[in-house]
Amino acid sequence: MSDKKPISSVNDFVVRFANVNGSGSASANEMFARAILRHGVPVSPRNIFPSNIQGLPTWYEVRVTEDGHLGARGGVDMMVAMNPQTWDKDVAGIEPGGYLFYDSTKPMPSTKFRDDITVIGVPLTAITNSTYTDPRQRQLFKNIIYLGALSALLDMDPKLIEQLIGEQYKGKEKLLSSNVHALHLGRDWALQNLKCPTGLRVKKSDKVGDRIFIEGNSAAALGAVYGGATVCAWYPITPSSSVAEAFTAHCKKYRHDPETGKAKYAIVQGEDELASIGIVIGASWNGARAFTATSGPGISLMTEFIGLSYFAEIPAVIMNIQRAGPSTGMPTRTQQCDIIACAYASHGDTKHVLLFPEDPAEAFEFAAAAFDLAERLQTTIFLMLDLDIGMNHRLCRPLKWDDAKQYDRGKVMTAEMLDEGRDFGRYLDVDGDGIPYRTYPGTHPTKGSYFTRGTSRDRYARYSEEGSVYADNMQRLMRKFETAQDLVPRPLQANAERPTKYGVIYFGSTTPAMDEAIGLLEARGHQLDRLRIRAFPFHSSVASFLAEHDFVYVVEQNRDSQLRQLIVNENGIDPVRLVPIVHYDGSPITARFIAKAIGDHQDHIKVTPLRKAVS
């Protein structure tokens, strides 16, 4: 008997599916999330999976959120516990008053349940075994059967799920009808034997609008297509492999010459990350737009080449889909932990441009923009995604493209320009912005050729280890980095309703949780101005924001508050005024976590909310 009132909520709850890796549950679970979207209700799903192919536990969490909060919430209102291995942990994770859905074919001792939750048993194995004989079918249809049962328990419209099944198995009539049959098998059993619906319900709404549902990696890969990337070299690593895989798929669709069927792109799976970045650098040196996608360990391997890109001034785009480090760390868990490693990658004095998209829509935009930036600045541009955005479907605004857009190929001296008698010095700062002109190999029979090297050279690319020549070059590279400040996406500021002395800085995948946390903090009486950083080098508005606030929280998903370190380092400010708020257990940061951490700190410094002071 429940000693806590069952949770009652419409369009605002979290369902978590606990499965075993390799059980084929992923598509049924994803269909569940999509079905809710078809009700017009926003969802935010997350895959929580092990670094293993079969047998280990995996979870899929769907946050149903009429208010459109797309960050992780924390806590589980309904647990679909399909994995005996993780049963105890799963049951313990349910919010008081929540629901436990399980396969009741085998009786369970009462000690396996909790008194403060509602237990819903469906004899899934029994139903499947009495319907199907083939073991694989039993496995797969069991997933659809629980989906059917859930549709009844959560009051979902089965037609919308049927529609999705129809789309998935278009042209495969047999599969289509058998899936629909399994769906109704579960649904009918629940309707006949259980109290339907529960306190958790899905009601049709209109909160999805024209938003799309896409993974960050796929969006970034499409950004590379739109941005004109023609060469991609990569080496498999979670969570970035799907960038290259998606790029391949997008190119197959969009980049074949209609007449000859030939490819307007080249994709090479390198033998390792060293080769992948080498290919990118060779291709970019030769005037093609090229990129690689990788994750932390790959970045470690690439650093020598990244230094070459910086010093020899060769464009490159690296998409870094971050996962928990150091070393192999937690390969399938999310973090924002490569900030320092990328900002200062390689030996000697180096600085690199980082872009921090907040969601797939921005991942698309920034990926495309990265190629313009790489060519304009003739250096490596890092697109900093993480597993949370990269490998999860996220609801975001539709992708947009301006057809009038031409690529910015940067400062390239052509044969005509050379013939006009323009002075070509590969490392001459002609315009005072630190950016020199380059020529592509093969440009002119007698003019404009030069030798590219990672060794020091003078403004005319002539090998020189003269101290003053070296220093001159290094200063120009700093000038170029300052130029970058105004070319990269600017930070976005949102002010609290009332004037406040407190601010918060955050970036990337933390954004939706932060947006939600602001509301929670306001409810607790804390007003904060927000600054979402979208790139490094930092725009001057970052320094202004710091100057305007007594305390600024820096929220990030790593142990050492790496963005904070970078801000302190680059702005020379007193670190005491920058309060680190860090989350680094590999799960995505939640609004609850942020609100608690900032709220507690605010309480601790005995904030009198400014609201009181001014009213």
């Binding site: 090479v268 080498g278 650098i281 291709a283 040196w285 005037g287 029979p445 590219t452």
Partner: protein
């Protein structure tokens, strides 16, 4: 200043090739290598081969790693773009460059340290991918630039300048290139220009991965008794399987060797290699035979030189990838970007 430019003066009577270029047009800066270094002779052979082929110098991209050998691209083809990348990684940089523009000629220059140790993987993978390039290893059995440590091609039992005996087995890059599917494989000796020049010329004309291992004595650290990469040793143990000439578009071809000892190999681009056999049984179209032949001779301490294998119908990486004929680096937004209408459709598919 450590940079030495060559004087621009041209003797008016210098011989010109078909395109009107003189020898000087294929030269680069003055070498800063040790006087007598085998690498300088290879430089001279590259210059000669490019001159003879009437290549437009600026249509060559010369790419190297790090080492004395990798410095040499600065000393030839002064009007072409060069790239001295990082240690052992020339092959990947070259692969990328080649993907970007299939219309240029790619010359990869590397050392045995560069290719057989730190860059062994990249060497292997560029070969197995069939990148259209001429990959030359200037093989001296030591690390020249870092002053004389053994490299991975140093023969077991050979001695360093300080008298230390190498106890590790050697990597034979030619054997490996054959195994990996290189479609043009040769070995030569920096001191044998007559053999080396046509080999380089043929390799440049070859479409696909051409590999030439050139034994190139390091006079500073590996030219002593006990070395198997010294001038004397190589001269004594050299066993050439053939001599060749490269004939480009000069019809009809007059071959003045005795019939039966000359074999013509027509390459993809129409150029022909005339192979004058020294070893009567040697068939350069037989990959397996080449491997066995090589091993048998290596066991006897002989260094087999010449064109060891060629597949005249080779395919290259671009063919494997089915890329368009137009160089990828010339494609612009109008052909690369699917546009907003396609994006709207894509968006619609995600709702």
């Amino acid at each position: 200043m450590t940079y030495i430019a060559k004087p621009k003066f041209h003797h008016p009577g210098l011989k010109k090739n078909e395109l009107g270029y003189t020898h000087r047009d294929y030269e680069g800066k003055i070498s800063t290598l040790c006087a007598g270094c085998g690498h300088d002779s290879i430089t001279a052979s590259i210059i000669e081969a490019c001159y003879e082929l009437s290549i437009e110098p600026h249509r060559v991209a010369k790419i190297s790693g790090i080492g004395c050998s990798s410095k040499t691209p600065d000393y030839f083809l002064g009007n072409s773009h060069g790239f001295n990348s990082v240690h052992g990684r020339m092959p990947s940089v070259l692969t990328g460059a080649n993907l970007a523009n299939r219309d240029l000629i790619y010359l990869g220059v590397s050392g045995d340290g560069d290719s057989a140790s730190i860059g062994f993987g990249q060497f292997a993978h560029s070969i197995r991918r069939g990148v259209n390039m001429t990959y030359i290893v200037e093989n001296n059995g030591v690390y020249g630039l870092t002053k004389g440590q053994f490299s991975a091609t140093a023969d077991r039992g050979s001695k360093s300048k300080k008298g230390v005996t190498n106890t590790d087995n050697a990597i034979d890059l030619v054997a490996i290139a054959l195994q990996l599917g290189a479609t043009f494989v040769a070995r030569s000796f920096s001191g044998d220009k007559t053999q080396l020049v046509p080999l380089i010329a043929a390799a440049i004309r070859h479409k696909g991965a051409s590999f030439i291992d050139v034994i190139s004595p390091c006079i500073a650290f590996n030219n002593h008794a006990g070395s198997t990469k010294s001038f004397d040793y190589v001269r004594e143990h050299n066993d050439a399987v053939n001599r060749l000439d490269v004939l480009v578009g000069r019809d009809p071809i007059a071959v003045d060797y005795a019939p039966g000892t000359v074999q013509m190999v027509e390459q993809h681009d129409g150029s022909r290699i005339a192979l004058r056999k020294i070893d009567a049984d040697y068939d350069p179209h037989d990959r397996l035979g080449a491997q066995t032949f090589l091993q048998k001779h290596a066991a006897k301490g002989q260094i087999v030189t010449g064109l060891l294998y060629v597949d005249p119908d080779a395919e290259d990486l671009h063919e494997h990838l089915n890329t368009v004929e137009t160089p990828l680096n010339t494609l612009e937004a109008d052909t690369l970007c699917p546009g907003s209408a396609a994006l709207d459709k894509f968006n619609a598919s995600l709702r």
